[in-house]
Structures are given as structure tokens and as C-alpha cells.
Point group: C2
Chain length 353, copies 2
């Protein structure tokens, strides 16, 4: 009703007494149209303030130039940084990015997938929620032949590309760094081991210990989540024992922060008595008075790469379903919390190639 005012190619065709087809071709620089007509059309289009209706185009072409991104929470540094990367990479190619939050809830996640498919997005990016076990909704995407790209948190599904970081290396790097700082009793604050990312960080930690001939002490592998409190309580429990760790590799920066706060209460000096490395390189880690060492996940790059993988898939031969698995190298940022030689400024000092 209220949209009657928008100008269409028919308005232009009436104005010039030519057919809408000619107008369409002229606007699309079809070489079959004479220069004279083309210019006339262009001029008139400008005069009438014509804007191509992308909806009609999308219906006809089957491409919306829109992609969907599903993340647990957009309001989380890591995820918003990935979205940043995706948006910046895709925007110049004329794509719009629709964002959806799953709140770590499979059902919401599946709903979002459905509605995104109904709106005919050209691709879907997602980091699966923690509670996701079911693969039905992923299969739906594949059935519709819509490219699906996982980032960070993936599921192994045939035909689905993914971009992740090498969490194993991240865990290894962090642990190795602590060992090289002289630590021999390294505790690990782990996340939910059902999630691949946390399992791999854990495995990297174990591998480093073994490579350097250090024993694995199960008591020092504590399950925490990404909350400050869990890191603090983990420390207060560990420090009731006779033998205490001389380093902590935490799979979460928040748990690392909690650990630091608790250790200060216990008058344990950092990094001299205990060195600490976190994971994710959350912005706050470098702002602290005692800046926290952390493994960076290069989220912006991850988003960019994910976008590139999508573009390849879209532009490549549709028929063969490409399945690309990109694994990015994490970067360890060494800061005061684990650096006994106090001359470093938090630049990436190590990264395995």
C-alpha cells in the first residue's frame, strides 16, 4: 500500500515508450542495446530515482546476496570479532550479513537454521552451541545445497567446511612456554571436555608435558568454565594441598583471571611463584596491571578466512561439494603473568608454523 511510490523499470519504460525488457537490458549494460537507448534509460533512471528491487531480483535469480551467521552470543568479544571479519570480507562483494544468537541452545539454533533457509540465504556460517548433539538441522542445510561453514566450534560432517584454530597447538604452546620458564608442576584449568576445542587444548597440554618428561598429575587438571569464580575456587582448592602447582595453563582467560585474584589473596607472587597463561586473548588481559599471557585465536582472521571459503564454494563448481578444513595457527602473547624476564611487551613471541 505504502510502497506504491517506488519506481520500477515499468515506470521508466512508460516514460520512454519502450519495453521493460529493453530497460532491464540497458540498465544491465547488455551489449545488444544501442548506445543511444542505454544512455536515455540511464538518464531517465537517474531522473526518476530508480532503485533496483533486490527482492524481485532475488526471487528470479535464486540468490539473495545475504548470508546468515549463527553464534552463541554476539555480545562476546571472540564472536563479534569473527563477525567483524566475515562482514568486512563479504561486504565488498555485495553480501549482507544476518546475525542470529543461539544462546547455546540447540533448538534455537535449529530454528534459526530453518528461518535462514526460508529466507533463502546464500550461505550459513556457524559456531555450534555447546548443547548441540543432533545433526539434523545441518543436514537440512546440505539438502538445500546451501554452503555451510563452521568456525571455531565445529562438527565433523561430510560436505561441511570449517575454519578453526589449532587448539592442540595452542595448548602445547602455552604449556611449553611455561615449561621453558622453569615450571615443572603445571596445572590445567580445562573447559567442558565434550567440546572438541577444550579437549584439544587439554591434549596439547598433556603432549607438552610428556615431550618434556614431566609427569601428568590428574589432580591438577581441574574442570572450570569461563567464569572468574570457577578459576578462583579451583585455586583455593588446589592450594589446600601440600604440593602446589608452580604454573597454570587455563583454557579460559576468565578462569585465569579468577586464579590470579585468588592467588593474590593468598599472597602468592605472580609470575615468580606461579606463572599463568590463559586462552582467547580477551581484551582485558592486556589492560591489567599484571597483564595476562594468553593464546590468541585470531578471530578476525578466522572470520575472513571463513568468508573466503564461502566465496570459493559459491563461485566454484556447485556440483562438486567442496569440503575445506582450514586450521589457523594460534599465537601466544606472552605478558607479565608468565614472564620472569621482565622486558617483554606483549607482542606475539611465539607461534608454531
Amino acid at each position: 500500500m505504502s510502497k506504491k511510490d517506488s519506481v520500477t523499470i515499468y515506470d521508466i519504460s512508460k516514460e520512454l515508450n519502450i519495453s521493460a525488457a529493453t530497460v532491464s537490458r540497458a540498465l544491465n549494460n547488455n551489449p545488444k542495446i544501442s548506445v543511444k537507448t542505454r544512455e536515455l534509460v540511464m538518464k531517465t533512471a537517474k531522473k526518476l530515482n530508480y532503485k533496483q528491487n533486490k527482492l524481485a531480483l532475488a526471487l528470479k535469480s535464486g540468490r539473495t546476496n545475504t548470508v546468515g551467521v549463527i553464534v552463541p552470543y554476539i555480545n562476546r568479544n571472540f564472536f563479534s570479532a569473527v563477525i567483524d571479519g566475515i562482514e568486512n570480507e563479504l561486504s565488498p562483494h555485495g553480501y549482507h550479513v544476518i546475525i542470529c544468537q543461539s544462546h547455546e541452545n540447540v533448538e534455537l539454533e535449529a530454528n534459526h537454521v530453518t528461518t535462514l533457509l526460508n529466507t533463502k540465504v546464500d550461505g550459513i556460517f556457524m559456531s555450534v552451541s555447546k548443547s548441540t548433539e543432533d545433526h539434523d538441522h545441518f543436514q537440512k542445510v546440505l539438502n538445500e545445497k546451501v554452503p555451510l561453514v563452521f568456525f571455531d566450534r565445529k562438527k565433523d560432517i561430510q560436505g561441511v567446511s570449517s575454519v578453526t584454530i589449532d587448539d592442540f597447538k595452542g595448548g602445547y604452546l602455552a604449556t611449553e612456554h611455561l615449561i621453558k620458564q622453569g615450571a615443572t608442576r603445571i596445572a590445567h584449568f580445562s573447559g567442558n571436555l565434550n567440546l572438541e576445542i577444550y579437549r584439544k587444548r587439554h591434549d596439547g597440554y598433556i603432549k607438552a608435558l610428556k615431550d618434556y618428561g614431566l609427569p601428568v598429575n590428574e589432580k591438577w587438571i581441574v574442570h572450570t568454565n569461563s567464569k572468574i569464580e570457577t578459576g578462583a575456587s579451583a585455586v583455593s582448592e588446589l592450594w589446600q594441598e601440600k604440593t602446589v602447582p608452580d604454573a597454570i595453563f587455563s583454557a579460559s582467560d576468565y578462569a585465569a583471571l579468577g586464579a590470579i585474584q585468588e592467588l593474590k589473596k593468598l599472597n602468592v607472587s605472580i609470575p615468580d611463584e606461579v606463572s599463568i597463561v590463559g586462552f582467547s586473548n580477551e581484551p582485558f588481559t592486556k589492560f591489567m596491571e599484571l597483564p595476562i599471557s594468553s593464546v590468541d585465536q585470531t578471530p578476525v582472521l578466522m572470520g575472513q578466512i571463513a568468508a573466503q571459503v564461502f566465496l570459493e564454494q559459491i563461485n566454484g563448481n556447485q556440483s562438486l561439494s567442496i569440503e575445506k578444513k582450514v586450521v589457523l595457527a594460534p599465537e601466544l602473547y606472552i605478558r607479565k603473568s608468565s614472564n620472569k624476564e621482565k622486558n617483554l611487551k606483549g607482542k606475539p613471541l611465539a607461534s608454531m608454523e
Copy 2:
């Protein structure tokens, strides 16, 4: 080409030997359709795995159930929190949210507006970029009769609703708090005074000083931006004078952090010699060893309210262009950096009604 597989109402109509019109009506629970037919259609739709093509619907109805959000950077706590609020409020109503980044660039901003209009979004939310002086692209939105809602950073344009916080009150609250802590020489680190938000914070600061009979010292009003370094250098300059401030109200948390870092170098004790309050309540402020007092902008709420304003506008009488200006109350979080009685935990202790 590859989309040949998707099921349409025509497939259902063929299957049942009825017309597509009947199928459409049945699916929409049109009472004119007999119960028998309706059930048959529903059953067949399910059997064939029919999904309504939102694109066709959008073209016909003129509504896409999609809104656009334009922010300077999505990867900024404040903005991603606002988007969180918008998404959570609108998602249950069936809306999708497209995000665009302006990178504080007017031209990019205007481009995004254009492409959003071309994709026929049902509404646009935006926080204008710093460099925006031009109002042409806003006018375009209004011409298309698409609801436009500004949040946080607004421009005064007739017919445009906005949701902001009372920056004046924020500045006043922060300054008043510092005064009540005993400060008499309060410096202000201001942002770009061309932006309304910074001007108002500044004005609130001035008003508080005057209300409490304190002199305004122009030398203590320093222009910084949201960078740590500018806060640090502001301090190092101010501290070269004979008389130094005994408190700082910074319009940016980052500048406040820089100030704190610099003051520590100068061995100035906080909050005893100098009290500090920042603005935005960035996550890091509460994680510091010396947690920083800050004015919270309630970004999630801001997003929710903005979404509600949009919904009212959409559902209300289209013909009269409602123009709603919502101003939210900021909340001062008092933390150690400005609290000389050391028994507070960072809960909102003050908020003007």
C-alpha cells in the same frame, strides 16, 4: 538451476489436483477453505517438506521481516551489546537483523543505507558515525517511509525516533560523586565535542561543578579520544603544573585507564590522591586490580527499547509519523578507583531517577 528441488505450492496443488490458490489459502488457515481440504493440504505439505518461500512473500507483501543495523564497529562491547538487545527483542517477532559497519565513515554509512533500502528492510537502526554531517541519506530512508531509529549517537531530524542515554546526567552523576568524595579540583577528559554525547557529558560536568560552587578550570578540560595513550599523555601534561587535579572524570574508560597507568608511574595513589571515574562501563573496568568506576550506558536495554520503538511504529498507524525520543537513565558504578570508603563491590550505587 540448483534450486529446482525446492517444493512450492504448485507441487502441492498438482499432487492433490486442486488450484494453487486453494493451497495457499489452506496453508494460511483461511476460513473459506473446508476442513477436509485444509487437512489434506497440510498433510501433503508436510509430506513433501514444503517450506514457504519468504522471498516470494516479501515481493508480494512488501515486507521482508528484516531490519538493518548500522554501527561504527560491531566489534565493540557497547555496540554488540545494543545489537544483542535488538536481536533478542525482535527475533521472537520473526525479524532478522542485518548488521553493517560504517567504520566511522559517512560514505560507507550512506552506502549501507542505500543497499539496505534496496533490499527493502522493514526498518533501520543506527548509531551515526563521527564524521557524519550530511543528512541526505537519512532523508532517503524517510522518503521510502522506512522507520528509522537512532540509538546513542543521534541526529535531530524530524520524523526520526531515537533512544539515547542522558549523557548530561551521566556527566553530572560522575562529577557529583567525585565532589562528594571530597574532590575540589576535578579534571575532565572529554571526547570530540562535536558529538552530542560528549558535549552533554561535558555540560553535566560543568553543571555539577557550578551547583557545588566549584570553579571551572579550562586547563583541566582536556580533549582525549577513546585511546589509552591519550589518557596517559593528558595526565603527564597536567602533572607538570604546580597545581594538579585531585580527581578525573573521563568521558572514556580507555582514557581513564591510560590516566591510571600514568598516575601509577608517577606514584600517585588512587583513589586517595586522585579519584577517577570513566564512562561506558567497559567489561575490563571491573576486572582490574584497581576496578574503575564508570557510568553504565545500559546498552542491552537500549537495544531492546529501540526495537520496541520500531515495533510500535510498524504496528501503529503508518500514516502519522510517530517520532519518539526515549532517554534512558545512566547508572554510575562506583568502584575502587573513586571510592575512599573501601567497602563497596561495584554495584550500582547511584542513579538519578
